[in-house]
């Protein structure tokens, strides 16, 4: 049980990570731009890490709290924009400043998150953590560059550093344009859900499990990059058909959209480090995960229509 500073604690992955850290009994200090829901074991701290004045506030907070663990999830995540946005560069700067402040305040272990977009997407075999890196986007390059510098800083000052590489995620609060939302929402609205032929193979993980995996990684002593993924192979058409089978309305139209040029046929994870070294496995299989996500969307739409 440790004192943890968690950033991005209100986010898509941050909120379930907060839950998992609390369940594990940690004293969690949650940093976000707005305070989140009150929760036993959680203290909220309001700060914008991109604010030029954040530096001195942050150093004060860290000197005051002296957290043992840092779990840094805050990043620019606007769907459809995050791949190419210069905000990625601002987040590299802010993340390094945060890590310097954390290590200077005596922190013991830091966990940050990267992305499967760091890997060379021309390869189709599952990526293990030593697979070649060749980010093709500013987002992927920013994460890769951050990893390079952050790991070296921690190595230099004797702080443990782990880097969780997220693959494809779904779950409550998913942005409407992301894959699972893009199928669930039209169907629930009794509209056609259009997609490609869906032969692409991907690794999907429910955010509750992504949060659980990150909390487990934080509590472990595993260092270096760790894929945060299910280790399962799923075709997008199979995923879409499982969704359609759960929703009576609307219609799934496989093949209604062309396959985008250069679409990678497979983006898969070798999750053995997570399973064997961290000792963590997903709690939800894809059917349980989809049940939960679709339930959340039903409630959300019902609430909107009231």
């Amino acid at each position: 049980m440790s004192r943890v500073l968690l950033t991005g604690a209100s986010g898509f992955v941050g909120a379930p990570t907060l839950d998992a850290l609390v369940r594990a009994g940690h004293e969690v200090h949650a940093l976000a731009r707005e305070p989140g829901r009150p929760l036993d074991g959680v203290s909220w701290h309001v700060a914008d890490l991109l604010d030029p004045d954040a530096g001195s506030l942050l150093r004060e907070l860290l000197d005051d709290l002296a957290p043992e663990l840092l779990v840094h999830l805050a990043w620019y995540a606007e769907h459809g924009k995050f791949w190419a946005a210069t905000e990625n560069v601002r987040w590299v700067e802010a993340s390094l400043a945060l890590l310097r402040a954390f290590t200077a305040a005596g922190g013991r272990r830091a966990v940050m998150v990267g992305t499967c977009a760091e890997y060379d997407w021309s390869r189709s075999e599952p990526f293990d953590e030593q697979a070649p890196l060749r980010p093709a986007t500013l987002y992927g390059a920013a994460k890769h560059g951050l990893h390079t510098v952050a790991a070296a800083l921690c190595h230099q000052v004797g702080v443990e550093f782990a880097w969780g590489r997220l693959f494809f995620l779904y779950g409550p609060f998913e942005a409407p344009g992301r894959f699972v939302s893009s199928i669930v929402l039209p169907l629930l609205r009794d509209e056609p859900a259009t997609m490609t032929a869906g032969t692409q193979r991907r690794d999907f993980l429910h955010t509750v499990d992504a949060g659980g995996a990150l909390a487990a990684l934080a509590a472990s002593d595993v260092v270096g990059p760790v894929n945060i993924a299910s280790g399962e192979v799923l075709e997008l058409r199979d995923l879409a058909q499982r969704i359609a089978a759960r929703i009576d309305t609307g219609q799934l139209r496989l093949g209604a959209r062309p396959m985008p040029e250069g679409e990678p046929p497979a983006l898969l994870a070798d999750a053995r480090r997570l399973h064997e070294e961290v000792g963590w496995r997903p709690s939800l299989d894809i059917d349980e995960g989809l049940d939960q996500a679709i339930d959340w969307w039903r409630m959300r739409l019902a609430a909107e229509s009231e």
Copy 2:
């Protein structure tokens, strides 16, 4: 002829780069913590890029000047400390903030500098720019991480980006503990100059030529990493003997120090990109360069003793 913003303009490499940019007819805006010597064609701007308040000052300056070229050389360079200092991380942050401000102000082309310490030093063949990167130090990792993010940012926003990898340098104002100084200074003081057996092979370049190469790189349209090096192979003992042959006093003691554990036998540069694509070659051979450097040290010591 372009309007150039040059950072680190008073430094070991920055000062000769400033000279070379002026000689090439550019309008140079030199940024440094203290104003340097007045020079036709140069406007000095005083700023500390690590100052938390630098961001807004910098954006004002860049919006005001709208430079076409950025040549960013400022970095932490304290001899003996720079390999492991956390200042390297602060310079990654500051360099990215500078680059964002430069691109936002309409800049056309940016040149930054990396290091041969980005390469995998377990290899003995000359490094070309595609050689595997495996920085073993925080300095090398910080430069590598900066390169990754800066190149991706420039690619995204349509700004040309070149990355000059510096190898071993010597010249006026060299810090006393660096290799050439560590031989020249004791000899000029009529003391023994001690060193290893000196079988290590290195690529050495005079700072006047490093500055010339960086100015040529800035004026070219070559993008990506470019080794800033002579392309020549020199054993340290040969270099030391050439120095000793120029100084009547003191005594060179080859082999008086043990070879450090893990000392790389060869750190050499393939300089073909610089020679053929940038079209630049060194102006000084090693004998001319040493003559010049030793003359400078003689004058410096004479001035000190007055």
